[in-house]
């Protein structure tokens, strides 16, 4: 009972004044309520440790695994490559043991613009990511719509089927596509034995193979946010549209599509952002004459051992990706403000 006497600061004000006037013990009681032993939950709530305690966990995570590495990479991008371990010049050095000198080389960023390899890789990556995102949207929207409209049992089955490929390693699934797409692979063999084609179609090492790989791998990331948006739609809105004289297709364009924009944006970003930096799929399935930026980055780090240029590539890519994220965040905030 004594433990329960503690009241939070907000409810303390609500103690009826009447009791203070009628009972001679009221002042003592109020003192006890004010200074009695606290319950720990109320204590945490009323004091400064409450909110920080909750946010501390994600904050620590982000600082340790995002901010610190980012600062290190950012620092290396201003350094110069040397033959040493680690293979870059430290940014700071002591001059005559008295002056701390900080040397920043902007040459790495400048270099990205002098060699066409980098710019063309960036542009190619953005193009591949954009086309793949569009393909995912075109494929994923009807699927998400169908799943959202199906009966609960069928819906759960479909959702499980969408997630099922994740049980197998991503790398293995991409390798499986090689077996399907290569010149003496499953698809060519079947088509040739049926007599539809006489020469194998070259599908490996083409843009086509990269699109297949990316769309196949990232489709669930498009379907799931779209599904969770479409599932919440109120179906009476479509009935209302039909009632007001709108044909089903027009009702879809005027009601369902605009209301699903948050889902489209979320799904597109979940596909676009990893697709830009994709390394495995273009390396295994893609062209050899045109690299994507993820491959360039990894070659720069591991083959070339030029950490400063590799860091500059990474920072440039990050900036390239931050722009759509910021757009998304602003859009989401606007949506939240509406609710």
């Amino acid at each position: 009972m004594a433990l329960r006497a503690y009241r939070s600061s907000s409810s303390r004000r609500r103690i009826p004044r009447r009791s203070g006037l009628t009972s001679p013990w009221a002042p003592l009681w109020q003192l006890f309520q004010r200074f009695g032993p606290p319950r720990w939950s109320a204590y945490v709530r009323d004091h400064w440790i409450g909110k920080p305690l909750v946010t501390l966990v994600p904050m620590t995570w982000l600082v340790l695994f995002f901010l610190v590495p980012f600062i290190i990479v950012f620092g290396i991008s201003f350094s110069q490559s040397v033959l040493a371990i680690p293979p870059y010049e430290p940014l700071w050095s002591w001059v005559d043991d008295k002056v701390l000198a900080l040397r920043l080389h902007l040459g790495n960023y400048n270099y990205l613009f002098t060699d066409t390899l980098y710019i063309s890789s960036y542009l190619y990556s953005v193009k591949v990511a954009a086309v793949s995102t569009l393909l995912c949207l075109l494929l994923g929207y009807p699927m998400a719509y169908g799943i959202a409209r199906s009966t609960p049992t069928v819906r759960n089955l479909f959702l499980m089927l969408v997630i099922l490929p994740f049980w197998t390693s991503f790398l293995l699934r991409v390798y499986a596509w090689i077996g399907l797409l290569k010149n003496n692979g499953v698809i060519n063999n079947v088509l040739m034995s049926l007599g539809i084609i006489h020469e194998p179609i070259t599908m490996m090492q083409t843009d086509f193979a990269v699109y297949i790989g990316i769309v196949y791998s990232y489709l669930p990331f498009m379907i799931l946010p779209l599904f969770s948006n479409l599932e919440k739609h109120d179906r009476t809105l479509l009935e209302a549209a039909a009632d007001l004289g709108s044909r089903p297709w027009k009702a879809f364009m005027r009601i369902t599509l605009p209301l699903s924009i948050p889902g489209i944006v979320a799904g597109s970003l979940l596909v676009f952002i990893p697709a830009v930096g994709e390394y495995v799929i273009p390396s295994l399935l893609g062209r050899t004459d045109q690299l994507m930026i993820g491959r360039v980055l990894s070659d720069e780090f591991f083959a070339n051992r030029d950490w400063p240029v590799a860091s500059a590539v990474a920072i440039a890519m990050l900036i390239l990706l931050v722009v759509p994220i910021v757009i998304f965040q602003r859009y989401q905030n606007r949506e939240l403000a509406h609710k």
């Binding site: 109120d234 209302a240 039909a242 004289g245 209301l259 609710k339």
Partner: protein
């Protein structure tokens, strides 16, 4: 419109009148469940017809069939003489106001109201003019640019009404139109609805579970139970002459007694009820088999309380007042009869003199007029 009303105030009594809506033997099944069971109905132009019933009685399903959202399992629906069987909702001359209002959340008030007009080939200026006009009627002119989530419940309800009226439908279907409003706003809106209906000359079919709402709005009420229409009539007919025991019990409050016919003449019947000391005398015949079991329903306001035993041998009872609820204009008395049964009596408070008031535990006599009881078989 008002003039037309006085000419033919009761088109359902005119055998030559053309029904605007004809529902013919319509049945709707969902799996094994029969939601609407062999319903036939006629609604005339300019009526406010209320479908009244408890939840799950099939009233909303019937409304959705009129709007075209559900096809009937069997039977036919005619609107303005046209069979609606193969006509999709977007081609019907009908608009509906949804229970949840179903406003488009991403559009402004004006956008919502304009939506229906945009589906037809109407020029922009004409659309804008009609939207402004209807928003004025529902008194929402200055809210045109707001989004639905920025409005109160009552305002949303008016947007929904404006949206369903702007296409000038011949028939407006309303699904629990006032369900979400508080009492005062409700009463206000009820009268507003009636005046809009009279001004625009639209036929209304209203679904409601609230009998008070049905009584105030309706020209006629159709009482539904278990997918069937049990009685169709004016509010007065339904209240004073309920056709079945269910209707008597569902509309308003009533005291129901079971009994047996003891006399059945062309001009009167007498019923013996175990719970009443005297027989019930009703001033009309029933033409039922002798000694048939029947029910007798007496409305609380048709009972009279008295301290002296009424003259005559019929239509009285004796009991003790168990409870009194003073409601200002009237009082509700719960009287326990000598047979143990509790009876509800309401009396208008005609005087302010305290000595004439009945009080707790006072023995009283109940009496009623021979025209008051409603009697039915079964």
């Amino acid at each position: 419109m008002a003039e037309q009303r006085t000419k033919t105030p009761e088109p359902w009594l005119d055998p030559h009148a053309e029904a605007y809506i004809r529902v013919e033997n319509v049945t709707k099944r969902f799996g094994n469940f029969v939601a609407v069971n062999n319903v036939s109905l006629r609604v005339y132009k300019g009526e406010i017809f209320c479908l009244l019933g408890g939840s799950g009685c099939g009233k909303t399903t019937l409304l959705r069939m009129l709007a075209g959202f559900e096809p009937p399992s069997s039977g036919a629906l005619f609107i303005d003489g046209q069979n609606m069987a193969d006509i999709p909702p977007y081609e019907r001359p009908v608009n509906m106001m949804f229970q949840s209002y179903a406003l488009f959340p991403h559009m402004t008030v004006a956008g919502n109201v304009a939506f229906g007009l945009e589906q037809e080939r109407i020029a922009r200026p004409e659309i804008n003019r009609r939207v402004a006009e209807i928003l004025d009627i529902v008194k929402l002119g200055e809210y045109a640019k707001r989004k639905p989530h920025q409005l109160s419940g009552g305002q949303r309800q008016r947007v929904a009404l404006a949206r369903s009226l702007v296409k000038r439908p011949k028939l407006l279907l309303l699904d629990e139109p006032l369900g979400a409003l508080d009492r005062k706003l409700r009463e206000h809106t009820q009268f507003e609805l009636i005046s809009i209906q009279e001004r625009l000359g639209v036929t209304f079919v209203v679904v409601t579970h609230d009998q008070e709402e049905a009584m105030t709005l309706a020209s006629r009420v159709g009482v539904m139970n278990h997918g069937e229409i049990v009685q169709v009539g004016t509010p007065r007919q339904i209240y004073e002459f309920p056709a079945t025991r269910f209707v008597a019990d569902f509309i308003g409050s009533v005291n129901l007694f079971e009994g047996q016919l003891s006399e059945d003449e062309p001009d009167h019947v007498r019923v013996r009820c175990e719970e009443l000391p005297a027989p019930v005398y009703v001033d009309h015949g029933l033409s039922a088999p002798p000694l048939a079991l029947c029910w007798v329903a007496i409305r609380p306001e048709k009972l009279t309380l008295g301290r002296e035993r009424p003259v005559g041998t019929d239509n009285w009872a004796h009991g003790v007042i168990r409870d009194i609820a003073y409601m200002g204009d009237m009082s509700v008395f719960m009287v326990r009869l000598d047979a143990g049964r509790e009876v509800r009596v309401t009396q208008a408070n005609r005087t302010r003199k305290p000595e004439e008031q009945f009080s707790w535990d006072e023995p009283v006599y109940l009496s009623w007029d021979a025209s008051s009881p409603v009697i039915g078989l079964g």
